[in-house]
Subunit: 224 residues, 2 copies
Amino acid sequence: MWYNSPPMNEVERQEPLPLPTIRRYPAYLRLIRERMAAGEDEVSSAALAAALGIDPVLARKDIAMMGVPGRPRWGYPARELADAMQRALGWDNTTDAALVGCGSLGHALVGYGGFAEQHLSIVVAFDADPKLHGQTIHGVKVRPMSEVGRLVRRMRIHLGILTVPDAAAQACAAALVAAGVKGLWNFTSVQLSVPDDIIVQNVDLAQSLAVLSHAIANRQRVKA
Amino acid sequence: MWYNSPPMNEVERQEPLPLPTIRRYPAYLRLIRERMAAGEDEVSSAALAAALGIDPVLARKDIAMMGVPGRPRWGYPARELADAMQRALGWDNTTDAALVGCGSLGHALVGYGGFAEQHLSIVVAFDADPKLHGQTIHGVKVRPMSEVGRLVRRMRIHLGILTVPDAAAQACAAALVAAGVKGLWNFTSVQLSVPDDIIVQNVDLAQSLAVLSHAIANRQRVKA
DNA sequence: TAGATTGTTAATCGATTAACAATC
DNA sequence: TAGATTGTTAATCGATTAACAATC
């Protein structure tokens, strides 16, 4: 039945996953791995949903995006599902990252060994402060900013982590981009300006705190 | 015109702010304060929007929720707007917080002095490790877990910050809740189970990383 | 077979964007 | 006055939920 298999290039063109779906994948993955570790081969949408506090049908929708079929009465094949989600997230291979800014937050990130289950590895760290140069944080040597361009390029690093003071953020981002980075994980509160093809993901604690303190101040329930 | 002023209890009952709106407030506040520091008294929706990379009409909608009127051709009164937003977020008074888990992330959070502009103050820290007890992190003494109940209650702390290993998360959350905390800022990847009236805000780095690595892997543009 | 669970299509809901009116 | 900017109402868009069919 050759006419049922899609043409070769169809395989590449995946339809875009909704952002909320992508955000739920890590939590699904966590549960699936737990279940697998416990010796189970299948996982139900109800179990997945319970772990996230969402409706089972939403979990099924999310899973449907992966094209991994489930079996009524059994659930979904754990290993296949996990593999598919990892592939979708680009977590099937380890990604090397460069961290810029070795303050306490940078320190914490480098030290956080099990980075969301080993798909991310911080392999170089940079800081402007000469006093830190040559020091080692959890096995990663701190290097001067002047070497960002050379090292990041040579190591073919595609992901930059920004944990510098706000004032330095834009300049450091520019240095990383110039060095060939494709994405920036931005822990500063600066809205970075970068070329269109560079992907920026902001981690803004103030946003999160705003939701929390507003809810406390108004004693309302908040989901997620 | 007494009939135009709302009855006393109307003042309390604010209609709920959309979550996305709340999340944008901190960034608005940042820009407004910048402008005020630069000596300006008014700020336009266009300036606000540019700082966040959003449409000006969206900024106006967000501002409309505050009930602070703007002047065509001038913009909005900076001080009034900042005050209103701060009040909405519960950021008009400093909130005391208790942090549980003095690992590297906990350390970083305690050390992060200017917490989103001083409305949050970590006043106690706890850890299970006896080796840390009595030590001081940026002026905050680390205390044993056994004192959570007594101290948090006595200090009337309403906000708990959870930076413990996943395995300890649920137990520590329970201890904080028992001690009278109203909200939890959860930096673990555990889905906490707490009473209905307790507000939990999760900071899940894996979620954020998922969006970023998926976008890099598929070379797509991501907003925010 | 009966029943649990997956899978799909339609309805709802909420946020953003578009269009345009109001005002200083 | 003209023009910039605020303010509001309607249209669009996307995600979630509801309803129900399909299947092991």
